[in-house]
């Protein structure tokens, strides 16, 4: 079973090596002539405005939290999909009930305006 994950391990090792090689080579071979312009943080070509570390709006948190909750919901769908055929109708009803309950939650946050950024 575990052998099946060998390519994943190899992939990780290659990624790790590649990253190290690129960083190492550019540090070793690259020419460094720093100037204030070059040292400034890159912000899409715009002149940087203020400090990057400022307080974020709580709305980010709310969206993040709701994302996690529905992420967890979706995580249950994977094993369900795999055994769906052998579960037959009861399995369908189980997941239907589950999704229906969470749909109520979705309706709630929608009508509540929690997905609305400005409210």
């Amino acid at each position: 079973m575990l052998e099946a994950y060998l390519p994943v391990l190899v992939h990780f090792l290659v990624v790790l090596a590649l990253g190290l090689i690129i960083l190492g080579l550019s540090a070793w071979v690259g020419v460094k002539r720093p100037s204030p312009e070059k040292l400034a943080p890159y912000e899409c070509g715009m002149p940087p405005v203020g400090d990057a570390r400022e307080r974020f709006s709580i709305s980010f948190y709310l969206v993040g939290m709701l994302f996690i909750l529905f992420d967890v919901e979706v995580a249950f769908l994977f094993p369900w999909a795999v055994v769906y055929k052998s579960l037959k109708w009861p399995g369908f009803l189980e997941m239907f009930l589950y999704i229906a309950i969470l749909l109520a939650g979705y309706l709630y946050i929608w009508k509540k305006g929690a997905l609305d950024w400005s409210r």
């Binding site: 009861p90 399995g91 309950i101 109520a104 309706l107 709630y108 009508k111 509540k112 305006g113």
Partner: protein
Amino acid sequence: MITVQASDFIRILPQEILSAFAILVMVFEPFLPSSRKVVLGWFSLLGVVAAGAAAVRTSYSLGPAFNASIAADPFSIYFIALFLLVAALCLLGSFNYLQRDNINHGEFYALILMGTVGMCFMAASTELIMIFLGLEISSLSTYVLAGFKRHDGLSNEASLKYFLLGSFATAFFLYGIAFVYGLTGTTNLMTLSERLSRTGTGGTPLLWVAIVLMFIGLGFKVSTAPFHVWTPDVYQGAPAPVTAFLSVGPKAAAFAVILRIFLGAFHAVGSVSFQMLWLSAILTMVVGNLAALWQSNVKRLLAYSAIAHAGYVLVGIAAGSAEGVSAVLFYLTVYALMNVGAFILIAPIAGTGERALRVEDYTGLGYTRPGVAACLTVFMLSLGGIPTTAGFLGKFYLFRAAIHAHLIGLVIVAVLTSVVSVYYYLRLVVVMYMREGQPQATSEPLPLALRVALATSVIGIFVLGLFPLLLKKKGEAEASPRHTKLAQVR
């Protein structure tokens, strides 16, 4: 093969009905204007009543459900009825409070209902995973409820403290479950009890670690010393009806789990549980009662008193006999009546924003508001365990069970600390009646819903105090089938 049958659904009918009502309340919440939110409150109350009817229906088809992860037995029906009573009283006590303090949101009712669902699952489950889920549901909803006054610093602090320490404690509980599973290969309490008594793994230190870890998690919920430090801050900061709810509901649910786990599944390893319960009971009674002496804030005073009462209940559990279990069941109902009553009565006295909470604020209340003062006096006398109130009989049964189990030292400590407790309960009564002065407390008349809740509590306290057998007989019946083998635990 899927083994779910129709009877399985009937055996969790109260939980299903409560969940359905909670979901409906949640969905309708955004559609109602702020002035009409109280409709949701009455609707929730209807849900609680319907769940009560469902519990009666369930009691006619008892048995295990869902692969033995649920046990619909008299024990769980008793606790479900208790939780429904607590939820109903708290709902009645909260309608006016929410409007007055401008936190009139329907989520409050939905969270109370869902918290109750979680507690019902805790009491009814014989599967550690289900118990954990119930614990999480009830905990999460009470964390949020504690912070329901969103613009109040104390309430925010209460929510945060309760959440951080609570999730830490739940992690301990989960850790314990993991050890138990690792040792026995099961999370089902029935199978667990069978395997433990068969293989005689009663002696492995690893199991002791598991037991202690689980007790820490549950001990936090029932606020036993030394896991009680959160209690005063949370009880003080949370809105008063919420305090009423969380000082009784999650506590009783955790006691139900303690009874099921430590006296039921782990009876093969009784000695470890016993020493732990014994030590915790003594610590809790002493710490709770002594600290309550110095409190000047009524909510904090009642918080320490709630800690002390958890200690008395532990005395009954430590007795480990069927008699002890029956005494615990009786006491929890009595405790629910007097504690919920006291906390929902504090809310109108304290006024908008809960300002008048010091003991001195109650000066002369006996003359300006005789009805309110009389109710509060009943609750205080019952909490103090004065005869003719149910509080006295509750303690009497607990201590008697402990004496029959030869726990003389424990009973001596319990009686001594109870005597100390009378001082601080009576202090409030003395301030109300014996001191002249203008009370800071507000003088608006009590709303009808609150009166109904208070009347229920007061009448309940006297009825149980004078005719305890109405409930005690039931409690004995409940305790007998599962826990008779506990008599020889030690």
